[in-house]
């Protein structure tokens, strides 16, 4: 006990008891959540075995193969990353290296507002604008495709990745910049030769955190992904409708409740999603922390 607490703490004091209880409650809720996911999802893993991950058929009451959902989650998130990376990094570098302090603060505030726009509004924008544009530009019958979902996600995570990367660039000591400038390097050479390499771990962390956010987003994706549980043919044709895990959960949960294995299979795919996001977030957090130290 003594080694856990600060030395002057009297653990019979009500303050210690109350805050301790609240901490236990908060942590307990989290532990309960994880146990819940594992216990409720486990029947699907035991019944389906590896076929849960590799199967391509999801027919409630018969078989639950989550591969199309996992594929959809990975493809949509990966593509979103591809679209968002160049503009987000450019925006971060420009804001941290070229803008004056006042303009920089304004830009950061704008990005924080943008990051707070509710997901459902992105969904509405996606339905009314993006899906229509994708349909018209590519000449498709239906604008709700994997591509549309990935574009929408790219827009959604841009502010997150941009602000965090910008923080990483600002954390590079200004002596480095001054030294490089004094050596006669141009501004652009300083940015790409000094700032970017130094800030890279932090930027990687920012990207991973943004990736985690994109992966778990539900309502916006649900409205524009098309909702078809299959891997497109051929597999790289992203202009076909698809499905990802959160969207599947959002669509089917209400009907699956209490229907045995169907529910377990949904929770199991939720668990898979959670583990993937957790992996990204932990790696991202590790990289961000390391940079600061």
């Amino acid at each position: 006990m003594r080694r856990l607490l600060h030395s002057e703490i009297d653990f019979r004091h009500p303050f210690v008891l109350i805050t301790g209880l609240l901490t236990a409650l908060a942590s307990g809720v989290v532990v309960f959540l994880f146990l819940f996911l594992v216990i409720q999802g486990q029947p699907a893993f035991t019944r389906m075995g590896f076929a849960f991950f590799s199967g391509e058929e999801w027919i409630p009451g018969e078989t639950y193969g989550a591969w199309p959902l996992i594929y959809g989650s990975l493809v949509v998130t990966g593509l979103a990353l591809l679209w968002v990376l160049p503009p987000a990094l450019g925006c971060a570098l420009f804001t941290s290296e070229y803008l004056r302090p006042k303009a920089r603060v304004a830009m950061k505030a704008a990005m924080e507002l943008l990051a707070g726009v509710p997901g459902i509004l992105y969904g509405l924008l996606g339905v009314s604008f993006l899906a229509v544009w994708v349909r018209d530009v590519l000449g498709l019958i239906d604008g709700n495709t994997l591509l549309t979902a990935s574009l929408l996600l790219a827009v959604m995570v841009l502010p997150t990745i941009m602000t965090l990367s910008e923080d990483a660039c600002r954390a590079v000591p200004s002596e480095y910049r001054d030294t490089a400038r004094a050596l006669g390097l141009t501004r652009a050479e300083v940015v790409f030769g000094v700032v970017l390499p130094q800030a890279l771990p932090g930027i990687a962390g920012a990207v991973l955190l943004g990736l985690g956010r994109a992966m778990g987003e539900t309502v916006a994706v649900m409205l524009v992904i098309g909702g078809l549980d299959r891997v497109p043919l051929p597999w790289y044709d992203i202009t076909q409708p698809g499905q990802n895990i959160p969207s599947k959960l959002g669509r089917e949960a209400a009907e699956a409740l209490g229907s045995g294995l169907h529910w377990n299979a949904l929770i199991a795919s939720g668990l898979v999603l959670f583990l993937m996001v957790m992996l990204f977030s932990l790696a991202g957090n590790f990289l961000l922390k390391r940079k600061r130290a």
Partner: protein, 281 residues
Amino acid sequence: MSRKTKDFLIMMALGLCALLGAALLGFILSAVLWRGWPALGFDFLFTAPGKFGEGGVLFQALGTLLLTLGAGALCFPLALGSALFQTEVLRPGKWNDTVSLLLYSLNAVPTVLFGLIGFLVFGVWMDTGVSWLTGVLVLAVMILPTVQTAVRQSMQAIPESYQETARALGLTPWQRVRAVVLPRSVAGLVTGVLMGLARAAGETAAIMFTATVFSGVLFPKSLSDPALTLQTHILTLAQEAVDPAAQAAAWGAGLVLISLVFCLIGLSLLIRRRNAVEADL
């Protein structure tokens, strides 16, 4: 190409990216304003909804406020208490890190899973059905990491010399919390809660099964009644993408929602900024 031209071109390219980011915010705001403004009016803002999504959004807005404030009120003591325990009682070390990691990992739970879990635990096992209280509980857990991390970080940012002075004066931990920790971290507390509220106000997936219905109630009269909210209202209307009246109502509701969220975020930015300036002096 000379180094100077290259330098210039790169600056232009980066500037273009920044412009794109700013233009995106501009586009989103103007799209919401442009599509939502026509729907807005006294009737839209202050009347009860009709059966099929026509009519006003008064009760949807009240429902969103109810869920958001309820979640904030429930989350606040948990976040404050556990942050105090972590900074003032528990020594830094393995246990402290474990608590941080547990709460942090909540951030990685996709919000729709909160909805599913809340649905089964409260709606079925505890047999409350779809109720606004379930929504409050689910949202409170969802925003816990946001609020708790902000509160804890603002407490950890208090200069060690303040704490040492308080200790040297012989203050007990509780006296120290009242005299030093709380007053010095109040800005962080407020901004943390505001960010949490903004997150809760914009959240749809976590409450769409657990707490809300599209029509049939106005404002919950008992603990087990469902509520109407702006978010789920927009979701239902957006799925009827072909009906122009539904579209117009969805954009109107979206405009109301985004104004609410932006007020919360703007306020937190203001407080943080004013406080940062004071700290620099």
